[in-house]
C-alpha cells in the first residue's frame, strides 16, 4: 500500500476476490424494485413493532 506505511507491497495470501473487481452489472429498475421489496418483507419482521417509542427512547450522551 503506498500509504504512510509502505511495508506491505506484496501480500500474496490474499484471496483473488480481495482486489477490486468489476462490480456486477447493475440490474434493471424492475428487478431492483423486486429485490428491495423482498428485502423489505424480511425487514418488516425485525423492525421494532413500536417504532415511535423506540425512536423516542433512543437517547445517547454526546461523545467525541
Amino acid at each position: 500500500m503506498a500509504g504512510q506505511e509502505r511495508i506491505n507491497p506484496q501480500n500474496d495470501d490474499r484471496t483473488p476476490d480481495d482486489d477490486a473487481e468489476a462490480p456486477a452489472p447493475a440490474p434493471q429498475a424492475a428487478d431492483r424494485d423486486a429485490e428491495v421489496d423482498s428485502l423489505l418483507e424480511e425487514i418488516d419482521e425485525v423492525l421494532e413493532s413500536n417504532a415511535e417509542s423506540f425512536v423516542r427512547g433512543f437517547v445517547q450522551k454526546g461523545g467525541q
Binding site: G3, Q4, Q10, N11, T15, D19, P23, R32, Q60
Partner: protein, 549 residues
C-alpha cells in the same frame, strides 16, 4: 492506520439506565469472557504516560485549566465528561514532552491503582483497546498497514461488541444493545475516528490546507446515510452523512464540541520527531465493508501524495498546485451541502472563484493519485484502491442508486425510499427513523445491515474466517502484534500497556519493566516472533529484549 469507534448503548425497557455504567458493563463483561478460567490476576491497566490530548499540531499546547473538561481524557482518576453543545476554550503555548527511546525500569507502586469502573479498560489479544470513552464503549482497532486489514479488524470490533451484548443478555435485567452509529437524532453525536501515521516532515498547515477538499467530498462514498436533518434531526429528510451536521470548524483541537474537519491533536503515540498521527473525526461509522475500505484506502493515498509533494514536482506531477486549485471557498458549510446533495449535482464554490461538484473534486483527486503512483511507483494494494475508487465515482455519476451494494447511504436510502412508496410514509414517520437506527444494531437477527448481508445484497471485502481470527489475533505487521501477543502469552505478567508501551510486572523483579514501542512498524511477527516463541515467560522475553538493545 486504525479506527476508533464509540458505540451507541441502549438498555431495552430501562430508559433511565446510566450509559457510563452500561458502557463499563460491556467492557468488564468482555474482559471476564476472554479471561474465562484464568486466575484472578488484576487486569492490565492502560498506561497514560504518553498521552497528551492537549498538544496541538499547530505548534502550541492547550492549557489544562483552559481546556473543556471533556478533552481531559488522559486521567483515569477523573474520567472526562461528555461534551456540551458549545463552549469557549483558550490556548497557551508550552513545550512538548519527549518520547522515551530505550527500555527502562519503573518504581513498583506501593498500592494498586484504584480500578474505577468508569475507566474500565481491556487490552485485547488482537492488539485493540476496549474501554469506556465518555458514555460509550469504544473499540480502538490495532494498528494496521493497509485498508483491507483495517476492515478486518474493524468488523472484528463489531463481533467483540456482539459477544459482550450476548453475554449480558443472558442475565435478566442487564440486556444491553449496541449500535455502530454516530447520532441519536436528539442532538448527541459520538465518533468514529480514523488515525493515519504521517511523515512529520509534511508541515501540518500544508496538510490541512490541501486535504480539506478531499475530506469534505469523500462522503459521497463514505457516508452511511442518516434520516433527519440538523443536529437534532427535527427537519425531515435524508442525508449522506451521520456526522456532517456536527462538523462546525475547519481546523481545531476539540473532539466533543466545535468539531473540526481536520483535527489538530498532536499525540502521535510514536516517535514525534519522525511522525504525526492525523486524527480525523468527521467520518461515519460504516457497516458496508467497501465503505470502510475506500475511506481508509483513499485517504491514505491522498496523504501519501501530500508526503511526496516535492518528489512529485521533480517528476513533473504538480500535485501541490492541483490540490491547491481544489481548495473550497467555505469548507464548513460545504460539508452540509454535500451531505444534503442526494443527486450529487450541487456546485461547490472553490477558493479560485470556479465551482465543482463533490464528484468532480473526487475525480480530480483520483486522477492525481493515479498519476502520482505511476510516476513514483505503485503496488498491487494501491492499484486495487484506485480501481475501486474510480469505479464507484463513475457509477455514482451515472446513477447513484446503482451503488447499493457498496455505498452505504445508497443501500440505506434505497430501502427507505421503497418503504416510503410502499406504505405512503413521509420522511418524519418513525418507521423510517427506526430503520435508520436499527441499521446499526450489531445483532445479526435484528440489525438491518445484517439482513442485507445475509441476503447477499451488499459486497464484502473480508471473509468470516478472517474476522473470527481477527477477534483474537493481532495483525502481524505492526507493533500491535507485540501488544496482542504479550497479552495472549504473558497476560499475568503485564501490568499496563498503551499504544506505544508495555509495562511488565515480573514476580521477583525489583522494579517494573517498561518496553517502549515508539516505532509502529517494529514489534512485528517477523521482527520479534522468534524471540517470543523462545520465551516461556516474560522474564525470558525481557532478557531477550535487553540482549537485542
Amino acid at each position: 492506520m486504525g479506527i476508533e469507534t464509540e458505540y451507541g448503548v441502549l438498555s431495552p425497557g430501562r430508559p433511565m439506565a446510566n450509559p457510563m455504567l452500561m458502557s463499563s458493563q460491556v467492557v468488564t463483561t468482555y474482559r471476564a469472557l476472554v479471561q474465562d478460567g484464568r486466575p484472578g490476576h488484576p487486569p492490565a491497566r492502560w498506561d497514560y504516560d504518553d498521552e497528551d490530548p492537549l498538544a496541538d499540531a499547530r505548534g502550541f499546547h492547550l492549557d489544562r485549566a483552559a481546556a473543556h473538561p471533556s478533552l481531559l481524557t488522559d486521567d483515569p482518576s477523573q474520567p472526562a465528561p461528555s461534551g456540551p453543545a458549545s463552549a469557549q476554550v483558550g490556548a497557551a503555548p508550552t513545550g512538548a514532552a519527549e518520547v522515551p527511546a530505550t527500555p527502562e525500569s519503573l518504581e513498583r507502586p506501593e498500592t494498586e491503582d484504584y480500578d474505577d469502573p468508569s475507566a474500565a479498560n481491556c487490552i485485547l489479544t488482537n492488539g485493540a483497546r476496549l474501554y469506556v470513552d465518555h458514555a460509550h464503549p469504544e473499540y480502538s482497532s490495532p494498528e494496521v498497514t493497509n485498508p483491507r486489514d483495517a476492515v478486518v479488524w474493524d468488523v472484528a470490533g463489531e463481533r467483540v461488541m456482539l459477544a459482550a451484548s450476548r453475554h449480558l443478555a443472558q442475565v435478566p435485567g442487564t440486556e444491553i444493545v449496541l449500535y455502530k452509529n454516530n447520532v441519536d437524532g436528539k442532538g448527541a453525536s459520538y465518533g468514529t475516528h480514523e488515525n493515519y501515521l504521517v511523515d512529520r516532515d509534511l508541515p501540518f498547515a500544508t496538510l490541512a490546507e490541501l486535504v480539506t477538499a478531499f475530506l469534505v467530498t469523500r462522503q459521497v462514498f463514505t457516508g452511511s446515510g442518516r434520516v433527519g436533518l440538523g443536529q437534532t434531526g427535527d427537519e425531515p429528510g435524508f442525508q449522506l452523512s451521520q456526522r456532517a451536521d456536527y462538523i462546525e470548524a475547519e481546523i481545531g483541537l476539540e473532539t466533543t464540541l466545535r468539531r473540526p474537519i481536520v483535527n489538530t491533536r498532536d499525540e502521535p503515540h510514536a516517535d514525534r520527531t519522525r511522525w504525526r498521527r492525523l486524527h480525523l473525526i468527521l467520518g461515519d461509522a460504516n457497516h458496508l465493508e467497501v465503505a470502510t475500505y475506500l475511506k481508509l484506502g483513499t485517504t491514505s493515498l491522498v496523504l501519501w501524495v501530500l508526503e511526496h509533494l516535492d518528489d512529485l514536482a521533480a517528476v513533473g506531477v504538480p500535485a501541490r498546485a492541483e490540490l491547491s486549485r481544489l481548495r473550497l471557498a467555505d469548507p464548513v458549510p460545504a460539508v452540509r451541502r454535500v451531505s444534503r446533495d442526494l443527486d450529487l449535482t450541487a456546485e461547490l464554490d472553490l477558493a479560485d472563484g470556479t465551482t465543482a461538484t463533490a464528484l468532480e473534486i473526487q475525480r480530480r483527486c483520483v486522477d492525481l493519485v493515479e498519476r502520482a503512483l505511476a510516476a513514483l511507483g505503485s503496488d498491487e494494494e494501491s492499484d486495487a484502491v484506485v480501481t475501486r475508487w474510480r469505479g464507484v465515482l463513475d457509477r455514482l455519476g451515472a446513477d447513484p442508486m446503482s451503488c447499493a451494494r457498496d455505498v452505504e447511504w445508497v443501500a440505506k436510502l434505497r430501502l427507505l425510499e421503497r418503504l416510503r412508496t410502499r406504505d405512503g410514509l413521509d420522511w418524519d414517520h418513525p418507521r423510517l427513523g427506526a430503520l435508520d437506527l436499527q441499521w446499526s444494531d450489531v445483532r445479526p437477527e435484528r440489525g438491518i445491515y445484517h439482513r442485507l448481508l445475509s441476503s447477499d445484497a451488499v459486497d464484502r471485502i473480508t471473509t468470516e474466517e478472517d474476522v473470527a481470527r481477527a477477534v483474537h489475533h493481532p495483525p502481524t505487521d505492526t507493533r500491535a502484534w507485540f501488544r496482542g501477543e504479550v497479552m495472549e502469552r504473558y497476560a499475568d505478567e503485564v501490568s499496563a500497556a498503551s499504544w506505544d508501551s508495555v509495562i511488565f510486572d515480573v514476580a521477583g523483579a525489583a522494579s517494573l519493566q517498561r518496553v517502549p514501542m515508539p516505532d509502529p512498524l517494529r514489534g512485528t511477527a517477523q521482527h520479534i516472533g522468534r524471540l517470543l516463541d523462545a520465551s516461556p515467560d516474560a522474564t525470558a522475553l525481557l532478557t531477550g529484549l535487553r540482549g537485542d538493545a
